[in-house]
Subunit: 331 residues, 2 copies
């Protein structure tokens, strides 16, 4: 294993320090936790929007903490849910009196710990804690860590739209409504060329031959829908895009994310994006804005994912609202 | 070789299509070239700021095309300078009558072709073409493709400051002055854990053992200053930071970039950043803003670089001016 690490067991702790050290104007670390919150949290009278999950998916979620997006992000150990204690502390720290929305990716550990944390936070005096569960991965029903569909890159659009509406002073019912609207209209699917290598184990999470790829992979290396021979980028782009379109059934303007899994260079993502965009236009769709890069990764896995969000005027406006979150750039 | 590619010889062409397809509001492709320019180029009365170089370093340079940053970026074949013909076309397309500044990384092919292109553009009616050569890599004097020091990640700060000043309507002498100020005050140094694999060759550019790293590597895999055993991230961060500080000798507020070489996940870059920031503070410096991510890469190379820019009020203001360039986010 060749990684830029010190003691692998200290990776998450040191990473969280490194994140707040990079963005001290916008973020701070809650003492004795791996939780990062906005510097000005809680914002009085504003709905708090928080998220969290296992580490190894950076910039998810900490890179989306900032004005107009997330108030807080909790980092668990690598590919492991944050504890309910830490999630509860985050919810309390982001409660400005108008309630807190937890944006949860659909993994059993995350859902369970956020459930417990919500109860704990309410017992500690937070009036309203709401939860939305993102399940945008169209590849498979049920998976290694998941009942139902997995939550993946579409979560970032939930962060952005819910965070933008909360920043404008909307109440918690409205923020939940918009989060659910994004969840109802977004789909994603990924693939891998190589396995990731987790720091503590130091070995590939799964075996894959030099001439094989895995279609429909999860962001923790969970099995996809097909193990096939290495094919050209166009065939991969077509497969992912068509499966997402079949599910989302968009009709007009769409937001697009062509995401790298951590080990794939942007040059290759742009080659994939070329074909994704052609297919969208061929399907009568209008790509309104596109993000190409590493947004929700799987450590050093080589591979990509395609996310498509069916838009309306409200979602376009929210996606394009300003945010200081370092990992999200608007038009 | 496992990559998201179609025909490797078509990679740059397809990538350029994929870039303009991602950012159609801001960019367009010059016909029959691998040049990307601002959609509104040339901007009448504004100094044009352009750059270019071999492909394989994405998002450099095309990701920095946008209002307030670059007017144009030329993509050569992988690790190969763009042709003088294409560079000349770019200069002409970005000439709004106030002159054009070419920001060139110090590689012999780039410098030579930009020189020739400037002459060609002047013969074609561009009044003033100026050139600055960035040589921020403190690792080595003279290298495989370079006389003097190599130009690397500090180039992005040149793009930003020169582009911001040009956007405000400054004349070409002023834009050159600011570009030279950044060049005089910035230093970078990189390292690699693995070699990159070029698409057409399909094999590692250099051999490196499983327990070795290369300190001072170039962005094309050019030799660095030392081949050593794999050490901890802190030792790597200290080595790179201290060598850059020795060269730049900053005294107050600094801009920092902890850059990934393409195959290294952000989690590891943040571990490195933690130590970089501690060292800066220990040296009495004030990190004013920090960028952590993939900014100037070497295909799929695993590794990182550290860039430090000594700031004054003017440079801070220019770095923080708005830009629509997709790969650069201000505070």
């Amino acid at each position: 294993m060749k990684k830029l690490l010190n003691d692998p067991s200290e990776m998450v702790d040191e990473m969280v320090d490194g994140i707040v050290a990079a963005y001290p104007d916008h973020t701070r670390r809650l003492d004795d936790t791996n939780v990062i919150v906005r510097n000005d949290a809680p914002v009085s009278g504003k709905v708090g929007v928080v998220s969290g999950g296992g580490s190894g998916h950076e910039p998810t979620h900490a890179g989306f903490v900032g004005e107009g997006m997330l108030d807080g992000a909790a980092a668990g150990e690598v590919f492991t849910s944050p504890t309910a204690d830490e999630l509860s502390e985050m919810i309390q720290a982001c409660d400005g009196g108008a309630g807190v929305l937890c944006v949860v990716k659909n993994y059993e550990g995350d859902v369970m710990n956020f459930d417990t944390a919500a109860e704990m936070a309410e017992l500690s005096g937070v009036d309203t804690v709401e939860q939305v569960v993102v399940n945008d991965d169209v590849a498979v029903e049920d998976s290694t860590y998941t009942s139902g569909r997995r939550g993946v890159q579409g979560t970032i659009f939930v962060h952005k739209c819910a965070g933008a509406l909360a920043e404008r002073g909307a109440d918690i019912e409205e923020v939940v409504r918009v989060a659910e609207k994004v969840i109802d209209n977004v789909g994603s699917m990924g693939m891998a060329l190589t396995s990731c290598v987790t720091p503590e184990k130091g070995e590939p999470t799964f075996d894959i031959d030099d001439d094989e790829i895995e279609i429909g992979i999860g962001i923790h290396g969970e099995p996809g829908v097909e193990r096939t021979e290495l094919v050209e980028a166009d065939a991969i782009a077509e497969r992912l895009t068509n499966e997402v379109l079949d599910d989302v059934q968009p009709s007009g303007e769409v937001a697009v994310m062509v995401n790298g899994m951590g080990g794939t260079p942007q040059s290759e993502l742009f080659v994939v994006n070329r074909t994704v965009q052609e297919l969208l236009v061929d399907n009568g769709l209008a790509p309104w804005n596109t993000w190409v890069g590493n947004y929700m990764t799987s450590l050093d896995m080589a591979g990509c994912s395609v996310t498509i969000l069916d838009l309306d005027e409200e979602l376009m406006e929210l996606l394009d609202s300003p945010t200081t979150a370092p990992a999200f750039k608007t038009k």
